[in-house]
Subunit: 177 residues, 2 copies
């Protein structure tokens, strides 16, 4: 990789996947390893990924397209469904004492590491927060909260790199004097 | 950077900062830019960073060391205090409809990008979820929720790179058949 700053500019939410190009198992494994290496409160890693490929990916995709959203997911070959897991005892105690939800933060860190690793490997990805949670829970056979679904696959040929539109740094940052 | 996988193995929670080595402004700016480039639900970036250096960092540090925790922060030259900001209208609507808290996830993504950029620049960092929120709110003059504090600085000379201990991937991942 040229630089991390360049990687950040290359990662974008991919909404046009090549349906005929599967993702190599070793690339999926690298994304999962990046997820696993995430820091988390008290090293709790309070999440679980259910990986869906092939027919299973079709079934997950069907849970993502309510109200005309996420139509592009019909072509996506791989999904990582992220459910919330229990804290370990120290993280649970800290969360209660401090009235903080560390799990969602930890899941965000993990999703960043997963998708940036995907980017380095030439894959497209998209972090999705819009899905039918009850349908996904039924599909997975779990009652755990589904927090994110990460779409993964090769972008279609010629999918352009879009410039990043973001709030200016002056709006996002101030200094304590 | 050699590879993103290598960067992930290099980033670690730094708990030994060199108190006599300030962080260059351009390196701080690069970390802030990495934060700004984060993906977030509906591109809402629902957070604000209050940067504290010098005396301000000392004051922030005083809010981090309750119950014998985070003693190392006494030597840390820079803190980024992360407060939760409002969603934009679309993210707020999605959050309500889907009963999901996207803000904490977005803050996690941001913290990952900030700290990985710091790592590439040779800086140490630590994502802290343990702090006296009321004291920090008073210091910042805000009623917004404080979600994280990111410690930033140069590690002391010879601070060793620790091997990563994590749950095995088999425990973190399963496959939908």
């Amino acid at each position: 990789m040229e630089s991390f700053a360049k990687l950040l500019l290359t990662r974008q939410s991919c909404r046009a996947y090549d349906p005929d190009r599967p993702v190599e198992e070793e690339k999926i494994a690298a994304c999962l390893q990046a997820a696993r290496l995430s820091p988390s409160a008290c090293n709790s890693l309070p999440w679980h990924i259910t990986l869906a490929e092939g027919d299973a990916a079709k079934q997950v995709g069907n849970c993502l397209r309510g109200m005309g959203m996420n139509k592009f997911t019909v072509d996506c070959p791989v999904f990582a469904v992220v459910t919330e897991d229990d804290y370990n005892a120290t993280a649970a105690a800290g969360s209660k004492l401090k009235d903080q939800d560390y799990r969602s933060v930890d899941i965000g860190i993990m999703a960043a590491q997963f998708t940036l690793q995907a980017t380095e490997l030439g894959l497209g990805s998209c972090i999705l927060g819009w899905f039918d949670e009850k349908q996904l829970q039924a599909l997975l056979g779990t009652r755990r909260r589904v927090r994110l679904v990460i779409a993964l696959g090769y972008p279609v040929e010629g999918d352009p790199l879009r410039p990043k539109k973001r709030k200016p740094v002056e709006e996002l940052v101030s200094r304590l004097r």
